[in-house]
Amino acid sequence: MARAFFISRECPYLNRKTTRGMCYSAAFGACRAYAQARDGNAFSFMAHTHVPQKYDVVIIGSGAGGGMAAYILTRAGARCLMLEAGDWFDTARDSKMMMWPWQAPHRGAATPAKPFGYFDGCVGGWQVPGEPYTVATGEQFMWWRGRMLGGRTNHWGRIALRWGPYDFKPYSRDGLGFDWPFPYEEMAPYYSKTEKLIGVFGSHENMENAPDGEFLPPPKPRAHELLIQRAARKLTLPCIPSRLSILTQSIHGRPACGYCGQCGRGCATSSNFSSPTVLLPPALATGRLEIRTGAMAREILTGPDGNATGVSYIDKKTRKEVTVRARVVVVAASACESARLLLNSQSSRHPDGLANSSGIVGKYLMDTVGSDVGGYVPDLSGLPPFNEDGVGGMHVYLPWGNYDKQLRHELDFPRGYHIEPGGGRGMPGPHSFGGMHDGYGVRLKQEARRGFGAGVGFSGRGEMIPNENCYCEIDRSVVDEWGIPVLKFHWKWSDYEINMARHMQQTFEELIVTMGGKVTYKSPGPHWGISRGGEIIHEVGTVRCGNDRRTSPLNSWCQSWECKNLFVTDGAPLVSNADKNPTLTILALAWRTSENIARMMRRKEV
């Protein structure tokens, strides 16, 4: 099948089939608006004009939360301005798909500027030049910033797992953490709408706390994934088709996946979900979205009534402050950056920072519990060659299935984790053969050849219980290059998470042994190789929503209690951090919040 979209780089939308969803003219409009906005033709003069313009909504951030807010609100008729601290990014132009290792510096290896390697579709990392942060003495935290249009939706693992009924009422179940202000049933329709919009493959399994969704057909498992299923059967572990936002069928004019396995590089054909390929083009096509890149939000401005009047940001090119006015402010800068912005927005009306009369902003920061084990499975060695790149990620995964053991108090930690297996004959890189072999000579060469594709790895991704020791606050002794005081992080895993990491490593070792393999790698460090705070890049929960203004900065609509026209749509409102990767929940929650904003604007309530 010829793939014409590789020929026209200017406009991925022109070559798309427009059978369903987007009509041709809308697709063309999206394309034109997108290209113009990218190249700064249509909108840049607006950015530099001196006519004071009041927007209906200013959205800070262009990732999952900001992109979804723009998508919903522009379609509801609101004129929106989106501020993005990074530069423009267009996967059709900027993706490094189809490159070979030797075409990249250091064979594409990780560098401080590109922690996931040269090919990674994310601009940014745990260290951003000119934008430092501090960490409390003796503690560890790593803060990832995606400084680009679309933020970290450009390189995420596309793992799109619905949270289940238990995940919204964790305190009710085990007395730990906090309940959400609404149950799963409230979120379910938004999950469905989100899945239909972005495209998620998966299978219907009827598991109690891993709800089924609106799925495209899943891709068949790879050879090593079938071995993992067999081992899981022996160990009585659930192992089902994974649920990733990658198109196994064309939808909404986006072509189906080409199975090159390079989702993380940013998909040049828009066959997986990222905000700039899925949410922003239709928003731009309405003609009601203006995007300003290189805009580092500094403060949310408020009026005498305490409500927001607009945003002050630093234009990174000119280093000048720019003020924009709006009826509604949507904060979606990522959990920690949003908390920082609110805390830095002090005024006489809001002496502790905006939306922070509860003193909770920045508190109860969560990440995901991670631990990894790798191994070598001789059965998979010496196979005849074949291409099994597949989609960019696992085709099967192991959801948490030990609730019955927890019910019998057989585990020394609450909640659960899911397992993400890896392996197969993927593109070799400079690290592909590390630590697997001994000796030298022709025999080594034969062994390496035989062993290609025989490595497997298991990564656990578990639920952390929010605790008092994990939070961020403003560190006034340090500013970034824009003069904005930075965040200081505090982090301490509790025994719950450490015990969970031990259980992970033991389980992964059992899986590898059951597959007939031997363990070759365990994530290093004390406490069973538990990840450092922020390392899994699932920070959520700094501006949580709730039913009580004394214990939550936001109400159940993710609206500030004390600043009525301020809403948060990123990971910050999340009350818990289930073992399921948060992006799908951020998208669905942002949809719900944005729909409510549109409703309130229509009723003139904001």
Binding site: R9, P101, K114, E208, C260, P384, E388, P428, P430, K445
Partner: protein, 245 residues
């Protein structure tokens, strides 16, 4: 934000055969810097096959970043001990692995880096030991002498614990040689890795005979049958409020 592309060498314009290599390298450079998507798909997939192995072992050494010429020569000899040429592919040095290692040491901290210390320290140990036993540097020893020395440090399980630092050095070098070789065009052809292309239909990757050999031809269906049975038996059916709160 992007990592800067460092050029491993500035080839001299005098040597004739190098000129063709320059052209190839420039092509590679262009391809490396331009967004891959700008190039037609055929050019990208063809490049693996058409790019010949750079830097034969005999060519003049590239401008070095971390290693000195003697160290580079020793790494070249060691690379070919680790991955010699065979009927399927060239040797590691023919695939440009020594230059890859020099560049790797450079970007992993340079001369002051921990990795450089480990690797250059290991090279020094090799020469010390060769001089003590045979009165020559390692590269001047006979192949038999070289081999007997490598045999002492190439198998961590049977090495003398007193030489564990030398074993660690050799293991590190082996990983670098393997990584450098198999991320080169030669290595990709050697494995062979058959991906990095767009395919219209996904059928599972492994052909039926592979699944048969692994005994997992029906695993998907069998797993599902077993999974449904367990669900029907009430496993993985969870309790809502297990502490009655």
């Amino acid at each position: 934000m992007e990592t800067k592309t460092k050029r491993p060498s500035t080839p001299s314009p005098s040597a004739k055969p190098r000129n063709t290599r320059i052209a190839r390298r420039d092509l590679l450079k262009t391809m490396g810097l331009a967004p891959a998507a700008l190039l037609p798909l055929s050019a990208l997939t063809a490049s693996a096959a058409s790019v010949a192995s750079p830097t034969p072992a005999s060519s003049p050494a590239p401008r070095l970043k971390v290693l000195n010429p003697h160290e580079f020569a020793t790494v070249t000899v060691l690379s070919d001990w680790i991955l010699p040429a065979d009927e399927r592919s060239s040797s590691a040095s023919q695939a440009g692995v020594p230059a890859f290692i020099d560049d790797w040491l450079d970007f992993q901290g340079g001369r002051e880096g921990f990795l450089s210390d480990e690797l250059r320290g290991g090279l020094t140990w090799l020469d010390l030991e060769s001089n003590r036993l045979h009165g020559h540097d390692f590269i001047a020893c006979s192949r038999l002498q070289q081999q007997s020395l490598l045999d002492r440090i190439a198998w961590p399980d049977r090495a003398d614990p007193a030489e564990s630092h030398a074993v660690a050095f050799f293991s590190r070098l082996r990983d670098l040689v393997l990584g450098g070789f198999y991320s080169s065009p030669e290595g990709v052809k050697d494995l062979p890795y058959l991906g990095n292309k767009m395919i219209p239909v996904w059928t599972g990757g492994a052909p039926p005979e592979v699944l048969q050999k692994l005994g997992v031809t029906n695993e998907e269906a069998e797993y599902q049958k077993w999974f449904r049975r367990r669900q029907a038996e009430g496993h993985w059916v969870q309790q809502w409020y297990y502490q009655g709160k």
